[in-house]
């Protein structure tokens, strides 16, 4: 899975989703994603991460994506 593919996949979370993807090892299977989206509003960190992992469930199960470290947040208002 290429960084761009991952970015597009994660942007599907919601219209105002901002995604930054870093390929940690250059092998396109150890990623860090920094995601800001209003869909995370009112959700615990675990729930936020579970929402993200659900989008790449097959790739993680097949180990195509071996590690996906997440930094999730809600956009600041005003």
């Amino acid at each position: 899975m290429t960084p761009d593919e991952l970015k597009i996949r994660l942007e599907a979370l919601g219209p105002d989703t901002q995604v930054e993807v870093d390929d940690l090892t250059g092998t396109q299977n150890h990623y860090q994603a920094t995601i800001e989206s209003s869909v995370f509003e009112g959700k615990s960190m675990i729930q936020q991460h579970q929402m993200v992992y659900a989008l790449v469930k097959e790739e993680m199960a097949s180990n195509e994506v071996h590690a996906l470290s997440l930094k999730t947040s809600v956009p600041k208002k005003g």
Binding site: M45, I46, H49, Q50, Y53, K57, M60, A61, A67, L68, S69, L70, K71
Partner: protein
């Protein structure tokens, strides 16, 4: 799909100790950077090592897959405190940074 036997094994292991860690390798010989990080963070809280139970999923492929379904969390390590899923390496690191990890395990010092 996970069979009942694996599910029961996971459930009983989670309730075997107040702090439970499904990881790759063991606390003494972690076999993955993320697992090693969580072990290190738990140790830095000063919690009593006897209150921690860890399971090496590399030696138990059924639990290795079953635990992901059990917590609907796709990766390892996975930390549980008093039977409740806390999270993986990211979340444990975030809790540690905020000082919340030691609060979580403070009664087990």
């Amino acid at each position: 799909m996970m069979n009942d036997q694996t599910k029961t094994k996971i459930e009983s292991f989670i309730s075997s100790k107040p702090v439970v860690l499904f990881m790759k390798g063991s606390p003494e010989f972690p076999m993955c950077g993320f697992s090693a990080k969580v072990v290190e963070l738990l140790a830095s809280t000063g919690m009593d090592r006897n209150q921690l139970a860890s399971l090496d999923v590399l030696e138990d492929p059924e639990v290795r897959e079953g635990i992901k379904e059990f917590s609907s969390w796709p990766t390892l390590p996975q930390l549980y405190v008093k039977g409740q899923f806390i999270g993986g390496c990211d979340i444990v690191m975030d809790l540690a940074e905020k000082g919340e990890l030691s609060d979580l395990v403070s009664e087990f010092k």
